[in-house]
């Protein structure tokens, strides 16, 4: 927040954020908050019976962390679009690293806007957990 239009540069973004190790408690707290109680994220027997080695994170948890990472930078009121694609699953014990960068800076409808490219990376494997995009207005 407090980011000025002039300080935004295409190809650049805020300091990365790293979280983890993720725990089953993180998954359960998110599930309780979101209302998505799919047992595959907290019921070990259910997850194994579906062929997984253990429970795994809710995609929307890492999407939620990534979204708040963006609004911490550009302001909660300024988001106009936020889109994610889920890639690799995220497992208990994983650390995640969140990054964002401006890919386009422009004016539209009398508003200054930036389009962002977003990434959540699994630190241990290096694989992408989320690839995302966002659009913010810059007052």
């Amino acid at each position: 927040m407090g980011v000025t239009w002039d300080s935004l540069v295409e190809g650049e973004g805020p300091e990365p954020r790293e979280i983890g190790p993720l725990t089953r408690t993180d998954f359960v707290r998110y599930q309780g908050a979101s209302g998505d109680m799919n047992p595959i994220h907290h019921d070990e027997e259910f997850a194994k019976s579906a062929g997984f080695p253990s429970v795994f994170s809710v995609g929307m948890l890492q999407a939620g962390v990534l979204g708040c990472y963006c609004t911490e930078w550009l302001g909660a009121e300024n988001v106009r679009r936020y889109a994610v694609q889920f890639r690799e699953q995220v497992w208990p014990g994983d650390h995640l690293r969140f990054t964002a960068k401006v890919v386009r800076k422009y004016e539209e409808g009398g508003e200054r806007r930036v389009d962002l490219e977003l990434l959540a990376t699994r630190v241990e494997s290096g694989g992408a957990a989320i690839k995302g995009e966002a659009t913010f207005v810059v007052p």
Binding site: A33, F52, L61, G64, R81
Partner: protein
């Protein structure tokens, strides 16, 4: 088993009040460091907050539930939120309506044929103005994954 005849299925408009406590709870669950969600007395919602619409939909009768996807083979492929202005604030009474927008298949690298189901939820304010839209892509894999890591 996905029922492709459900494309176009739309539920009844349902209320979704936007509540400050829920925004705070959601911010904590999303490990937010943004004080705007907890210090502001009428905070706007987080970018993914509208997923909590789950609490206001009647379980089992939502359009997605009626498509009949298998939970053990269900993956969340993607999610998009569009806000037509400042995101809704605590205290706003939204009305939402969900439709099954598309159902299609793709061949997966593992796990056989994957079936994609895209649903769209529209959120309107008390004046009927469209304030936000959510598009969700759910994927049913052809078989239970045996190698996940």
């Amino acid at each position: 088993m996905v029922d492709k005849s459900k494309v176009g299925l739309t539920d009844e408009p349902t209320e979704m009040p936007i509540e400050r406590g829920k925004i705070r709870e959601f911010a904590i669950a999303c490990m937010s460091r943004n004080p705007e969600y907890v210090e502001n007395k009428t905070p706007v919602v987080e970018p993914t907050f509208l997923t909590t619409a789950n609490f206001w939909m009647s379980a089992g009768t939502s359009p997605l539930a009626q498509v009949g996807m298998d939970l053990k083979r269900l993956l969340h492929g993607g999610q998009e939120y569009v806000f037509h202005g400042v995101p809704p604030r605590a205290g706003t009474e939204l009305t939402m309506q969900t439709r099954v927008d598309k159902i299609y298949e793709k061949e997966g690298k593992r796990g056989g044929t994957m079936t994609f189901v895209e649903t769209v939820t529209e959120f309107r304010d008390p004046d009927g103005k469209l304030v936000a839209e959510a598009r969700s892509t759910a994927i049913e894999t052809g078989q239970a994954p045996t190698e996940a890591k």
